[in-house]
Amino acid sequence: MLSANIVALAYLVASVLIILALKGLSSPESSRRGNTFGMVGLVIAVVITLQLSSVQNYTWIFIAIAVGALIGGVAARKIPMTHMPQTVAFMHSLVGLAAVLIAVSAFANPVGYGIADTFGQMHVSSRIELFLGAFIGAITFTASLIAFGKLHGSLSGRPVTFSGQHILNLILGILMIGAGVMFCIDLTWTPFLAMLFVAMLLGVLLIIPIGGADMPVIVSMLNSYSGWAAAGIGFTLGNNMLIVAGALVGSSGAILSYIMCKAMNRSLFHVLLGGFGNHAPVATGGAALEARPFKSGSAEDAAFLLKNARSVVIVPGYGLAVARAQHALKEVVDKLLEQDIQVKFAIHPVAGRMPGHMNVLLAEADVPYDIVHEMDEINPEFGDTDVVLVIGANDVTNPAAKTDPTSPIYGMPILDVSKAAHVLVIKRSLSVGYAGLDNDLFYMDKTMMIFDDAKKACESLIHVLD
């Protein structure tokens, strides 16, 4: 049995290690050591908690940890990198559910948590903290499950909207807070469970109107919620380590949501209202969706352009991930590098279905990270680039975002692909992107369309580049 001071000190060490884990992610070299710091931090936290005098139920606790470790470990090894967005969404829902269960358990046995007075009645401040932790956890739980379904394809990625939706959500929100206030006053099960139920319902309703390509924002936001839920539990227990960890995760998710919103030139409020991308295709400048002349070519034509280039920039998008073409693309890159052609990748912040998703897919395909560049780094270089190869990306290359004030995506930061000497676009058809917009880039003189599946196109390119 360690003294309370030793316990507090150990929790402090664990908190510092967790901060170091995040700090390590400032560069790939330091990140692996950072991850080790994080693991050590969690181990310290768990070991110190296990030796608290109130913790006696060792057998069952070890069984629960072992079962969780087995499931988590196997999943971590097996999950394909293309499935990371839904995996992360699913893990958020587990954090949410765990927070709810802990809150219910604390309410059932407040004395065991040391949050009750001598009569076994919970302190008023603890009631409020418990309410906050429980409802954030409940919303995180169901909202993440819906996000998981949409990302995994088990639910339609299309926004589900109906009239009165926002009013309904508002009423449910008021009901939830009302039930929470009642719980804080009379400390009975009915308002507590009603509050949890309404929060879970609200979690579902908040996410159904949001479309597939807005998911990077939603996954980041739920990341943030899972942190606030953990901090809420930390307040309930009066445990500073939980508060620190929760606040770190909460602010991390909030920053990622902000970065994603900015990259789409949309406000978080606008994303949360939902329904974006649900409307019929919007024509830019009136007649835009009428037949416009464009050039299309074969893999041979593309290979000819690529071979004669000195510098090539590749712009991958979500279509690359869908077609699982990253490995084939890496072979194309190898062929070009063999011929002493400079190759770089340009990544838009919202490429893929979660922040940084495209970087992981390219890393998995053994593309070295020092040729993969962020939008702000690479945009000034497009003017000096011979050939840009756009593969599975659309809206993030649309020059209308800069030139057409009437376009719905006007103001969104884009990759300046149209400044390059030649543009190759691999796409299955001329269909519109998520924003429902025609892309002016496809009709430019310097652009050649290659109509094919991303993977098949890369495979033909490998063949003809030999």
Binding site: P28, L42, V95, I102, A247
Partner: protein, 113 residues
């Protein structure tokens, strides 16, 4: 039990000195300061590692396992301990899954040889 939690040290102190703020204020101060630390640390994370950042923060928020272990601490099995044990299992899935998948991703990031 109480003596083993840091909050209660502040609670005991409050009993002696009436000028000492509520334990909640101490937790709240830590909370706000941690948000600032998080803000500065996370803005320094390279955008290429935003996916590993999300998976590792998942593992980190599963530190709620501490609460779950306390909930499942008593030997006697009742609603509180059973729910606590389930929460231990869920958090443990996330801790192991989160750190291991992060490790797997970070191992993929290589420089040009």
């Amino acid at each position: 039990m109480c003596a083993s939690l840091p909050c209660d040290m502040a609670g005991q102190a409050a009993a002696h000195v009436s000028q000492t703020p509520d334990p909640f204020m101490m937790s709240f101060s830590v909370f706000i300061l941690a948000i600032f630390v998080g803000y500065h640390v996370v803005w320094n994370v390279t955008p290429a590692l935003h996916t590993p950042l999300m998976s590792v923060t998942n593992a980190i928020s599963s530190i709620v396992i501490v609460g779950a272990i306390i909930a499942s601490g008593p030997i006697e099995m009742n609603l509180a301990t059973v729910l606590g044990l389930i929460a231990v299992g869920l958090a443990s899935v996330n801790i192991f899954g989160g750190f291991m998948v992060t490790q797997r991703m970070l191992a993929m990031f290589k420089k040009r040889s």
